[in-house]
Symmetry: C2
């Protein structure tokens, strides 16, 4: 996706240790033109899988997931990292670890929003080590739903996340794949 790559090149900032700051258009401020295109592109790539629900994790996964959901016409469920007082029924839980907050997190989804009949498309902002995505996959497995695909906006292919997802045998897509940083500048695959 050219607009996304241009945004990464022009506005992304490499902070070292594999961390790319994309706060100006995706993870703190959201560019509406870019986000609409992201949703359209993820929807186009997965529409043949006929997902019935999109699963993501708060907070950074919500925008690309909603943009995709508006095109596909299916609901988004976002896993919570803390249990609100309103989440008072049965829930699926999976442990993960946050790259950007440097701590363990638990992802929690109400069991009524992941059912055996569902075909789940997982979406997240980054595919890097895939820790968050693997936790989302665990939630899908626990629910008995069918996982039909995994989509990420930006992939850092040098962190090995995709290799962890290949054994799942589902379609894995990312819209911009960074293979390395050379002089703090991303090189795309």
């Amino acid at each position: 996706m050219q607009l996304l790559k241009d945004k990464i090149l022009n506005e992304g900032r490499y902070l070292g240790n594999g961390i790319l700051k994309v706060d100006s258009f995706m993870n703190h401020q959201i560019d509406p033109v870019l986000m609409r295109q992201i949703g359209e592109e993820i929807a186009r790539r997965f529409q043949d899988q006929k997902p019935t629900r999109i699963l993501t994790a708060e907070s950074s996964g919500i925008a690309p997931s909603l943009a995709t959901a508006l095109v596909l016409g299916v609901p988004v469920v976002y896993a919570r990292k803390q249990q609100p007082v309103t989440m008072n029924d049965g829930a699926f839980r999976a442990k993960s670890e946050s790259h950007t907050f440097k701590k363990d997190v638990e992802l929690i989804v109400s069991s009524q929003y992941l059912t055996k009949a569902d075909r789940i498309l997982i979406i997240d902002d980054f595919l890097a080590t895939a820790r968050t995505i693997v936790a989302l996959v665990d939630l899908v497995k626990e629910s008995g739903a069918t996982l039909v695909g995994i989509g990420a906006v930006i992939e850092k292919s040098f962190e090995g996340g995709r290799e962890k997802l290949v054994p799942l045998g589902v379609q894995v897509e990312s819209l911009a794949r960074i293979k390395s940083f050379e002089n703090d500048r991303p090189e795309f695959l």
Copy 2:
């Protein structure tokens, strides 16, 4: 907004103490048809104020803000409740208190995304006691930007939040106003 009121009546659950659970369509699962309409309606009500940015708080404010941003064509900035490692520049901070997590929270926004030249529309999921919204207003004041409006999806008018916002002298809108719960059923204004 009739579709929203119908959703609240059919799917909302009153948990007592003024807490309305809307997890099935807004705060955990997001209904894409409803959320698109919410965005269109908030955009319609505030387009004459010519906002240049939308300000909200993670996580529940992101969906209605993005839906509105897609119509208005302006960026969304969502205040963080924890500082990610990527947020390494100057930031505005304001204290709030979470209804649904029963604890104090700090809202943090990178100072580069709220500027003196901005016309800010604040959007949140609920207008209840207005604690979160008042904290967002504090961030706008700190930045020197101009506040041009405050929009909420659901208002619980019996919690007095609107009264705190009136002195600001800006347009305040909510799409469904609940004046009370009678036998656990919401009564709309």
